[in-house]
């Protein structure tokens, strides 16, 4: 097994210096997700304003893969439109399900392509997706709580 492929510099860097970490106000949706096999946990909040992801804030414990993934996600979706964020979510999920067959589009996924190697390790894919799952869930909750939005 090639460890360097899994633990890329980018991943270790995000793990050691997570971007956007900590829980912040205001927010409309919050989600708590756990990975029952290993005890990784994340609480994540989404603040939506004018069709944009105005803030994503989170507090998590877990392995390098799950923590780095949340940090990379923050960089990718914070400040983008909700639609763009959902597109990234779909793209990243597809990359994680690629079983090592995809390199990912760096143009669109930026640092998140570093996780391509993780897709070869089924036990770790769940770690990489934990933050994204929390985002998806928090967004649904946020949109449900925003009056006038029915297309969510």
């Amino acid at each position: 097994m090639n460890l360097d492929e899994l633990y890329q510099e980018v991943i270790l860097d995000h793990y050691k210096r997570p971007r956007g970490a900590g829980l912040r106000e205001p927010y409309e949706g919050e989600s708590h997700q756990v990975n029952p096999t290993c005890g990784d946990e994340i609480t994540l909040r989404v603040h939506v304003a004018d069709g944009k992801v105005a803030d994503v804030s989170y507090d998590n414990v877990g392995c390098s893969i799950s923590k780095a993934s949340a940090s990379v996600m923050y960089e990718l979706i914070n400040g983008t439109t909700v639609d763009d964020a959902l597109a990234k979510l779909a793209e990243f999920t597809e990359l994680m399900n690629s079983k090592g067959q995809s390199e990912g589009d760096e143009e669109s996924l930026e640092d998140a392509v570093a996780f391509a190697g993780v897709s070869k390790y089924p036990m770790r894919v769940k770690c990489a997706l934990l933050g994204w799952k929390a985002f998806q869930d928090a967004l649904v909750r946020a949109e449900a709580s925003i009056p006038g939005r029915t297309d969510a």
Binding site: M1, L3, L12, D40, C63, K67, R124
Partner: protein, 422 residues
């Protein structure tokens, strides 16, 4: 090298083909026997021979194969009974695993709650108490927790000291006259603690409570004699003691089994059946509804033979020595903290630890790259994790086939972890 070991580990290793495997270009270092042990050729061969030669359903046919299969199955029961010092094979109930064995006990209480004629020892309701410990595997916690929720009884537990031992000073306080049953772990799967039993069994007698052991991690590793232990029931599981998956054991005193309502019902557990009513067979058949794990019982019997031949006292002394070596060597690793007893006394060769700044998942991944199999996570003992303020640990667990050299490899690989996450 293994001066103090009473086992010929090299010869033993030759019986386990999987130990020759390579993970990538590294030799396999299997340190996850607390999750499941590897199986020697003798076990696999016994199951294969039975399947190729005598396979049939038991107790249902007069043909030759049927009687051979019945004999093999009942022979396995007798072997297991002798192995744990049970007065009679009829006290040995085959189940699917420890989890089912413990549920079978818990459901005896729950089912008794619906039966006005039930034995008073199994009657449980508001005001009654059930006692476990804080170091249980979920398998010996949740069935009792659920039982209490459903019957209105109160669940209590004995805590853990900072050193990873049961807080036995509180035994008299926790176990009161209201207590009906105490079920506690003999050897803890996360902490590696070997719990002394006499104080708890004595207190159980004083208050008239039933007392049982989750022996999942003790029967495979040390001499267990149910009569000497003075308990009412024990549960253990085949796959942790060189046997196959799919078979477990509940041992309980004959008079308890006679008084307990059945758990699963259906074929093979009846005396007579009409459309309105059924009378049940005597134990152990009463608790073995449906076709049991027959080939697995044959495999378990072969595992018992294997362990018997080595001698459980020798297995124990090998592991005691191995535990000492593991503790010594792991203590030398910078940033490593052992969760559980730090001395090889009253301790198994299962050692959990945290590694400063590195999540167990990452530790496990890097060790795997070195061919080393350990378990990471909460080990189905979340309350134990919470007690020590951790989410997860890395756990290395040794068995009769592990060597010092493998521990050295583990310690060296932990240096590799430091390098990646340094």
């Amino acid at each position: 090298m293994e001066a103090a070991s009473k086992l010929d580990v090299e010869a033993i290793r030759a019986d386990f083909p999987i130990l020759q495997r390579r993970i990538g270009d590294k030799p396999l270092t299997y340190l996850d026997s607390a999750a499941t042990s590897q199986k020697p050729v003798q076990v696999v061969e016994a199951m294969r021979h039975f399947t190729d030669h005598s396979n049939a359903n038991i107790s249902r046919s007069v043909h030759t194969l049927g009687s051979e299969a019945t004999e093999a199955y009942e022979g396995a029961r007798a072997k297991v009974a002798a192995f744990i010092g049970a007065p009679s094979p009829d006290e040995v109930v085959f189940t699917k695993n420890s989890t089912e064995s413990i549920n079978l006990m818990a459901y005896a209480f729950q089912n008794a709650a619906f039966d006005p004629a039930a034995d008073p020892r199994f009657k449980l309701g508001p005001g009654d108490e059930v006692v476990v410990t804080e170091m249980e595997h979920h398998a010996n916690l949740i069935p009792w927790q659920q039982l209490c929720q459903r019957t209105g009884a109160t669940l209590k537990w004995i805590g853990i000291t900072d050193a990873g031992r049961l807080d036995l000073d509180t035994v008299d306080e926790v176990i009161t006259e209201r207590c009906k049953v105490i079920s506690f772990v003999h050897v803890a799967n996360l902490l590696g603690t070997v719990n002394p039993t006499s104080q708890i069994t004595r207190r159980a007698r004083e208050v008239g409570a039933l007392v049982g052991l989750d022996a999942s991690q003790s029967v495979p590793h040390l001499p267990v004699d149910v009569t000497e232990l003075g308990v009412d029931f024990i549960a253990f599981t085949g796959h942790k003691m060189l046997g196959p998956t799919g078979i477990g054991v509940l041992w309980a005193k004959a008079d308890l089994l006679a008084a307990m309502p059945p758990f699963l019902t259906g074929g093979s557990m009846i005396k007579t059946v009409t459309m309105e009513h059924t009378t049940f067979a005597d134990a152990p058949a009463k608790f073995e509804a449906g076709t049991p794990p027959i080939a697995e019982a044959v495999g378990l019997a072969a595992a018992v033979d294997y362990l018997d031949k080595l001698g459980m006292a020798n297995v124990r002394s090998h592991e005691k020595e191995l535990a000492g070596y593991m503790l010594d060597r792991l203590e030398t690793v910078d940033g490593l903290e052992i969760i559980g007893p730090r001395v090889p006394i009253g301790r198994s060769a299962t050692v959990s630890f945290t590694f400063e700044g590195v999540h167990p998942h990452d530790v496990g991944q890097i060790l795997d790259a070195e061919g080393i199999a350990v378990r990471v996570g909460h080990h189905c003992a979340k309350p134990t994790c919470a007690r020590f303020g951790v989410n997860a640990t890395t756990r290395a667990s040794g068995y009769l086939y592990n060597t010092h050299e493998e521990i050295d490899r583990l310690v060296e690989a932990l240096g590799q972890v430091r390098k990646v996450f340094g």
